[in-house]
Symmetry: C2
Subunit: 444 residues, 2 copies
Amino acid sequence: MSDSGSSAASKGGTAGLKPHVVIVGAGFGGLAAARGLGGADFPVTVIDRRNYHLFVPLLYQVATAALSPADIAQPIRRLLARYRNVEVVLGEVTGVDAGGRTVKLADGTVVSYDRLILAPGSAYNYFGHEDWAAAAPGPRSFADARRIRERLLLAFERAEQSPDPEEQRALLTTIIVGGGPTGVEMAGSVAELARYSFRRDFRHIDPAKAHILLVEAGPRILPTFPEDLANHAHKALQRLGVTVLTGTSVERIAPGEMTLGGRTEKAGCIVWGAGVRALPAGRWLGVETDRAGRIAVGPDLAVRGLKDVYVIGDTAMATGRDGAALPALAQVAHQQGRFLGRALRRNMEQGTPIPPFRFRNRGNTAIVGRNSAIFDFGRLHLTGRIGWLLWAIVHIYLLTGFDKRLLVATQWLWRYLTYQTGARLIIGDEEETGSDRLSGPVRS
Amino acid sequence: MSDSGSSAASKGGTAGLKPHVVIVGAGFGGLAAARGLGGADFPVTVIDRRNYHLFVPLLYQVATAALSPADIAQPIRRLLARYRNVEVVLGEVTGVDAGGRTVKLADGTVVSYDRLILAPGSAYNYFGHEDWAAAAPGPRSFADARRIRERLLLAFERAEQSPDPEEQRALLTTIIVGGGPTGVEMAGSVAELARYSFRRDFRHIDPAKAHILLVEAGPRILPTFPEDLANHAHKALQRLGVTVLTGTSVERIAPGEMTLGGRTEKAGCIVWGAGVRALPAGRWLGVETDRAGRIAVGPDLAVRGLKDVYVIGDTAMATGRDGAALPALAQVAHQQGRFLGRALRRNMEQGTPIPPFRFRNRGNTAIVGRNSAIFDFGRLHLTGRIGWLLWAIVHIYLLTGFDKRLLVATQWLWRYLTYQTGARLIIGDEEETGSDRLSGPVRS
């Protein structure tokens, strides 16, 4: 594998006859860019450290045992198979040489490019407390989602077996940090799991009495939404039994406990959902970033001062028509990717200059639970059952692949009718092949 | 959690007024036994180290990226929620004191019983070469299935990037050990993945040229099936491009390579499916076992020489009417569990003695691939498309839960129509929260 770049590298680079576009990351932005460049008469290489495109907005449902990973992910290869000019490489980018026009991968491969699109996405921002990550994972990757699901389910199992009411109370407490859409969705989803799915399943605890705390440092939850919608969500959460603590900052997180607003709470599960930071494209390029790790780009999404390097999605610090920074949203990344892919193709094939990117807000949404979601379309605000129905329809529509849509729709309908979630599995990391953790090898 | 057994233990035991039945393991046998005892007027405790009941016969489809874990697993709690006399405990049994009538768990909990049903199941048998397990996992647990899936998918990814034809050939080789139903099903499934699902997805390799070797030490594959059916499966595998090596024994397995029949083959993925050994109930009880770790039981499924201890499923060495040992099959475990649960209930409530267990063979089946399965109903032998249709219908019928049936049927139909499998995800164990494996923490 030492020089495995031969295939990709030999294709492009300044040495080749045709220019070569490299896209790093196959999230919403990178995938849309690749599709925009699909079918062009020059080669495109998409590099991602994962073999799948992940529908991140539904990851919280994997974390709360409602969906399976494969329901919201598709192999990148498969999604781009129809474009014969697009090649997919599974690899981890470790650096970019913007002068030499190369991307370096962890396995030593060097991939040459003529145009580079960076769309590496973002991770949760622990604001300098990276040591909190292990105690309070956020639903940002499948590994994290599985970890959250396991802690959540194990906490109820342990509470059921605990003879100590104090310990039971602690285990039945779930704390969610961050009152943005992810935090709200996690809180609502955990509350429904405890109140509906777990009903009748336990003998020694009442899962409906589980404590779910949603902690937000700011004065209200869902700060990016209009106040009436945020209030609606706040009340809906309270009806589900969620305690919403606004104006409360987190002072310390340790395994199973947390200090917030001066007091310490024990918890069976702590979930992080408080803001993101861009993945390290800034360091790869050696350019300045803002506090969230984002790189400032021009209206053509190019990095200022570098030639032929573009940044899109959560890593880009782009501004909207009003001069405000565009938020780290899937729809922003998707629109940027589609725009840049198409514009770059016209630019490379016909010499058309890249026009300025314009973001069109398609509406903002967050879901609290069954029959309860909020939608902000600017003038039009939707809530309740209509918001919820629209939320479900939009998310099924946005999923890639007819089979995934059918699977997710089936599971949501089933859940709606029966109040049951379908993926209540505790699957540990540490199990070993052929071993029985029960008691070691059998004598033979 | 030190004395968390108080809830379970206090319920039963000789100290209680009502007798207490403890069931260890919620596989096909244990679950059926619990259902047979559901609704009785005495308490029943089901102990399992996992929180879910797993439909093991379809695990190979999780390993070959066709299904998700949650499609073939249900929370044990949920499956038994309707029986108010049945309690479920998540715990690892480490020993049994048959004299004192207690079961000991790994966390120190001691659970008393009046009647004990042991149904711990089985693991793959490496016949003294337990060190092969890491290099050649078998599809017996979700962790193993995920490991196989990852190796399989990663091998193709690496082959795509490799500039060395020798290395490509090695990576595109999959070796499956054992010509029983699991081996046949794995081989067929891997062949279909390579030939159908991967078609068009790669640029530098032809996945259809993947080498799939099925290795069987005996003179023919599927030794438990009639010869005509085994021959049919053998030919169907060859048509799919699988090389079937009978009379070939495995001499050595190391990561990525294997010595068989005197020569060494390199492989991108090695899968084990060669026989099972019972989990360690024999050691818990301190009784003799056969070479596969099974405990001899009488016609009432009780362990000879012990009072009120029953063993069912893969751990029981029970004999059929013809005096031959019953095979380690789901249908045997299920029938034994249902029989014992009902008989024990009549015995405890009315004093009726436990009659001898009689196994009724419902037919044996193995699937090679699309439109190709074999069915042995004794006199009636089915093959080809009819066998395949029946196989699919029977397996969907046997799945627990309407939602799972719908999900699996949907995915199979989708796969049948499009040749695409839905779970081609490489999800590693080692990913960490908030970390970006790409390049360490972002400067902030």
